[in-house]
């Protein structure tokens, strides 16, 4: 007797699952993947966008994966994701057929441990440190009392921040011995815990560390907005060809609505 009940239950589960494609989902799912720097911004924008009274209420479901800007580009090009996030500008080697929408700007700050309060780094010093031609602090910062080996903390190959860093700071190849981290948060944590560390992060991730001036200019959102700070990069949303209805609605809202602009201004640089 019990066995029959079980069979009926199992059969109805299977039937329900088989029927699911037949019942068309009311809301499409937009999958987003890519930059770990843009993801927190998207994470802040989406709840506002989907809130009652806003443009996106009850229109679509969003799922965010990360992985790095290059993964976002690859996923969109291969139609694995609907939308990609990138924190670097388009490269010549990127796949074709992609539409890049600029949505915000961001500053890349150089950070060191609080016990190592480096106040300013010149372009030459940055190149020497990050390419590995200098390996200890005393020779990197002439005239400073800081000693010890330099611990480089950089981003992984898939990172758009890594590409942006290379382009904006003029460091074409980072030292092979540098420790590679998967996100801004991890670089922030490594630098916080290692007195000999130096790394680069998005401006939103600098709390608890010492932020060094680059070429004499402080890394702040104000300086980034006025273009006084040289290392400012763009945030993009990427789609394959023209975006689908729901993706277009979201991108449009991010670019034009005042609510979106307030959110962007809270940790990044809005476009206008």
């Amino acid at each position: 007797m019990r066995r029959n009940h079980l069979t009926i239950a199992a059969a109805s589960c299977v039937a329900a699952m088989a029927l699911t494609p037949a019942i068309a989902s009311a809301k499409p799912t937009i999958t987003i993947s890519g930059s770990t720097s843009v993801a927190p911004l998207t994470g802040k924008l989406l709840p506002k966008y989907l809130a009652k009274g806003q443009a996106g209420y009850n229109k679509a479901k969003f799922v965010i994966y990360q992985g790095g800007s290059d993964i976002g580009v690859a996923d969109v090009a291969a139609s694995r994701s609907v939308m990609g996030e990138a924190s670097r500008d388009p490269k010549a080697t990127d796949p074709g057929g992609l539409v890049w929408n600029k949505i915000a700007r961001d500053a890349i700050c150089l950070i060191t441990n609080s016990d190592n309060p480096v106040s300013n780094l010149t372009a030459a010093q940055v190149t020497a440190i990050f390419t590995g031609s200098t390996t200890n602090w005393s020779s990197a910062l002439g005239g400073s009392t800081k000693t010890g080996p330099i611990s480089l903390v950089v981003r992984t190959a898939a990172s758009g921040t890594q590409d942006a860093f290379a382009k904006l700071f003029g460091v074409s190849t980072v030292a092979a011995s540098a420790a590679q981290k998967a996100s801004n948060g991890l670089i922030q944590q490594s630098v916080k815990s290692d007195p000999n560390a130096i790394g680069y992060v998005s401006e939103a991730f600098t709390s608890g560390t010492n932020v060094a001036k680059y070429k004499g200019v402080s890394c702040t959102l104000i300086n980034a907005k006025s273009n006084a700070y040289p290392a400012v990069r763009n945030f993009w949303y990427i789609t394959k060809g023209a975006p689908t209805t729901e993706a277009a609605r979201f991108i449009n809202w991010v670019k034009t609505s005042p609510a979106a602009k307030t959110i962007i201004a809270s940790g990044w640089v809005p476009l206008s």
Partner: protein, 322 residues
């Protein structure tokens, strides 16, 4: 003459005499001390591990964490709790066990009771051994490969552009069941083999068919074995991270897909305690060691409860193991 206490029989008191340790050669004494050192050392390591986890867990644990959902936040203070990872762990363990049970118990019954042709039986046994030894990260990426095909769209969901994502509770649960199958299989098979032939023969003598014997006599009596195996399997599933990280989508909260209640949660993505701990540790993408400790503490308690539950059950059955 003194005999060792491990043999059953009359309890012979260990007399001080020719076998007293102080009369042993130096090498033998060193070996004895080494054995003691290793035994006590392992206990110390375990105590340190549990003690430290409890210390940190209680330090960072806050009951509100158990009931709030995780949120995107720049600092640990506003990144919420881990309610949905807890739900995720329960859901995934349930799905994995439900899928694993019929396969494992069915295979055990077939091998012990039928087992014809014998080359097939040996092959199936070896296959289950191999599944037990497969790294879970390999199972995970195989699952990703398998479930990204469009046939399996009902198990996860398709994005707006038609690509099947392949990451959902159902797909992760399907792969998790592979982890539980060897454990349930071994327990059930052991229990079945321990039933003496007379029980089966008595059943046949009373006129029951083989199948009816299995259903009405054997399965009820191996229930403790099945429970033990299931509890072990659930413990392993709850503790696995690789499959979750790759196949569950790692979204902070449960994201149901589709419209059918219950099924839509299963087809959606989410996270579990293990992936939450991994993501918040310095190895994942997050940056919240305090949350990681708290979640790890909850996870540890869960797994210890599951395993001590088995201990009670195992003690009730006759066989003594380590």
């Amino acid at each position: 003459m003194s005999t060792t206490a491990r043999n059953p029989g009359p309890q012979i008191v260990h007399k001080r005499g020719r076998d007293s340790v102080s009369n042993w050669r130096l090498i033998d004494r060193l070996a004895l001390y080494a054995c003691w050192a290793v035994g006590i050392g392992l206990c110390t390591v375990a105590a340190a591990l549990i003690g430290y986890m409890c210390f940190r867990g209680i330090q960072y644990m806050d009951l509100s964490l158990l009931v709030t959902n995780p949120a995107v936040g720049a600092s640990q203070a506003d990144s919420g709790g881990f309610l949905s990872p807890i739900i995720g762990t329960f859901l995934l363990t349930l799905i994995g066990t439900v899928i694993a049970l019929p396969f494992a118990v069915g295979a055990a019954i077939w091998i012990v009771e039928y087992g014809r042709p014998s080359w097939l039986a040996r092959a199936v046994e070896s296959a289950i051994e191999v599944v037990a030894g497969t790294p879970s990260i390999v199972l995970a990426i195989f699952g990703l490969l398998l479930f990204s095909g469009s046939i399996f769209e009902p198990l996860s969901f398709a994005a707006d552009n038609g690509a099947v994502v392949g990451k959902s509770f159902l797909t992760a649960g399907a792969m998790m069941s592979l982890i539980a199958v060897p454990l349930i299989f071994t327990s059930t098979r052991e229990a079945l083999m321990q039933i003496p032939a007379q029980v089966r023969e008595a059943s046949y003598a009373l006129g029951k068919t083989k199948w009816a014997t299995i259903r009405r006599v054997l399965i009820p009596s191996v229930r403790p074995g099945i429970f033990t195996g299931t509890a072990l399997g659930m413990g392993r599933i709850a503790g696995d991270t690789a499959i979750v990280v790759v196949l569950l989508g790692a979204t902070l909260t449960l994201e149901p897909q589709g419209d059918i209640p219950l099924i839509k949660t299963l087809r959606g993505s989410g996270s579990t305690l293990t992936s939450y701990v991994y993501n918040n540790s310095p190895a994942g993408e997050g940056n919240a060691p305090q949350k990681a400790y708290a979640a790890a503490f909850v996870l540890l308690i869960l797994i210890l409860i599951l395993n001590f539950g088995i201990d009670k059950l195992a003690r009730r059955s006759k066989k003594e193991s380590v």
